[in-house]
Symmetry: C2
Subunit: 382 residues, 2 copies
Amino acid sequence: MPLPLNGVTVLDLTHVLAGPFCSMTFADMGARVIKVERPGGGDDTRAFPPFKDGKSAYFAAINHGKKSIALDLKLDADRAIFDRLLAKSDILLENYRPGVMERLGYGWDSLHARFPRLIYGAVSGFGHTGPDAKRPAYDMVVQARGGVMSITGEKDRDPVRVGASIGDIVAGMFLAQGVLTALYDREHTGKGHKIDVAMLDSQLAILEHAVALTTVTGKPPAPSGARHPSITPFETFHASDGLFVIAAGNDVLFEKLCVALQLPFAEDARFATNPARCENARLLKRLIEAVTLENTRAYWIAKLTAAGIPTGPIQDVAQVLKDPQILARNMVVDVLDRNGRAAYKAAGNPIKMSDVPDATTRAPAPDLDGNRGEILRWIDEG
Amino acid sequence: MPLPLNGVTVLDLTHVLAGPFCSMTFADMGARVIKVERPGGGDDTRAFPPFKDGKSAYFAAINHGKKSIALDLKLDADRAIFDRLLAKSDILLENYRPGVMERLGYGWDSLHARFPRLIYGAVSGFGHTGPDAKRPAYDMVVQARGGVMSITGEKDRDPVRVGASIGDIVAGMFLAQGVLTALYDREHTGKGHKIDVAMLDSQLAILEHAVALTTVTGKPPAPSGARHPSITPFETFHASDGLFVIAAGNDVLFEKLCVALQLPFAEDARFATNPARCENARLLKRLIEAVTLENTRAYWIAKLTAAGIPTGPIQDVAQVLKDPQILARNMVVDVLDRNGRAAYKAAGNPIKMSDVPDATTRAPAPDLDGNRGEILRWIDEG
């Protein structure tokens, strides 16, 4: 059965995380992704730990199913190959610092004139316009400057970074969305677009509640630990053997919670409404924990789930990878090595689509320049 | 100038955050989004603080540019309207608990038989398959169960939630990506797909490094505060007036940093490589801060930026909303009220596309059922 992006070719100059994450999602949906790497070392993440059999599991987790060719875009012979690849590609992706592609002679204006159907997707720290366009950035810089760190962590302690690299990944996802929008548009216009996504912009785009709050009240929100800032109870609680979450998002759920925990709060004005509960959040937490500490997490999760209350464990990543629901959803896949053996585990594709097979394995991540012969033959097919 | 999704109609049954975030991104790209709400209260977020002039700024931030009609899908008359809307729509979005649409007679099988071109996008806590499909979830439940909380926070302290609602938003973004993929596919096959995105799956999908580390070493990573877990120096540092970030992601950047800070580490084996620096991260942090505490954040950010080192402030959301780069990128837009006046500020569209105007304002968020007449007339156009 064909995959939705079968027949689509992605010429992928990106490295590290934001861009490669984007092209990985295209490969998962059937696109041919040709990773163009610099000769010598290739993508920096080939040298990122952890390693297995001398190869980076980090690189494999993001680059499975892609093909690799090493090209030096400053050499005429390699540029000739690159030009022929451009002529056969639907999408070009790059995450250089703004201006680099222009200096190489592959800026958008020139590419668009030569290849009007080509879609050009760029992801960078600060975008291709604005006063800071040419500054370098990493995930951590945009997490800090973009505001998410200021609302993550404990009250009255220093902010912490989000443990996942959402500075990169969210930008890669917006890039994917922009490129797919352009691909649909091209069906009607026959013309490609340039898509310019900034990691910094993308951080602001996910701050929904904090932006609304700040613009209306003038006061930026502070971090609130493991609590939701404006819903109570909606936080972590201690059971006898560790932490779990109760998310009673409205009055009905709170009533159900009181019944399940046998807490006599039905007539208690301190907890009658969400605003009242927020005001008395600390007290309510103590009163709930006085009950939850009496039994295990598993006990409470089963009991509250039966009562229809959103709840769940805090899991470390090893536990997540064994979670029955995660496994039932095919969210842990085997990345194969060149001999077809399962070499690494990686996250599966979260986009489940009817009539589209959701493979339980992934083709290997490419060796640097490992598909040169095959790619050159494909060019010659004309 | 037409927007890429002009002519695409989205029938949007979603409420709260994940689904409405998805349909917002479609509206920003020109789609007609018809929000179908339950009579009486409508979308729960209409009652979410903060309020301005009696209306929720939270709701406005996510639902600008959409049209609203109130329908009770259990009433025949309203079902007749909904059926006519389905016949004119390209995309149906819903975020009910799995099984609800089937009970209403609008399950995928039946819809696909009646409207073979219709694309059906569903987002739910745990997805439409697997043992926990029917459990309720909120953002916090999937942040906890999905692993991101276990790597967010300070070492040896309780985990914290990510301040942004990435449990919802990342799922909404994967849904958008799936729907756009299906929209492109439909150009070739004439057929719609169902897309089933789970918030829990989506959390695993963004844990790149943590998944690789856990599967190779067998040991799940712990939270590491404001530090990157495997790159040093890549964390926050104190200047004389507060915290800022230095992200020296490789040896070259570290050498530049030593020059800029006048730190004599060129020959120091303790800091010669990234593994050595990670081993001595605590010491290195103290040595760097002994210098950075001597001057202000602005001083160091200017100096390190001039040296080509990724750096930046930790900004609260109020500061982000005034950041010159953010403003230059049109990332803070005015949401208009019905009189065409700027009523709220909201985040702009992070997907910047050539030849696609990036509007500086957004059409108002709809009143509940506020576009009934217009929508019914549009149905009658046939």
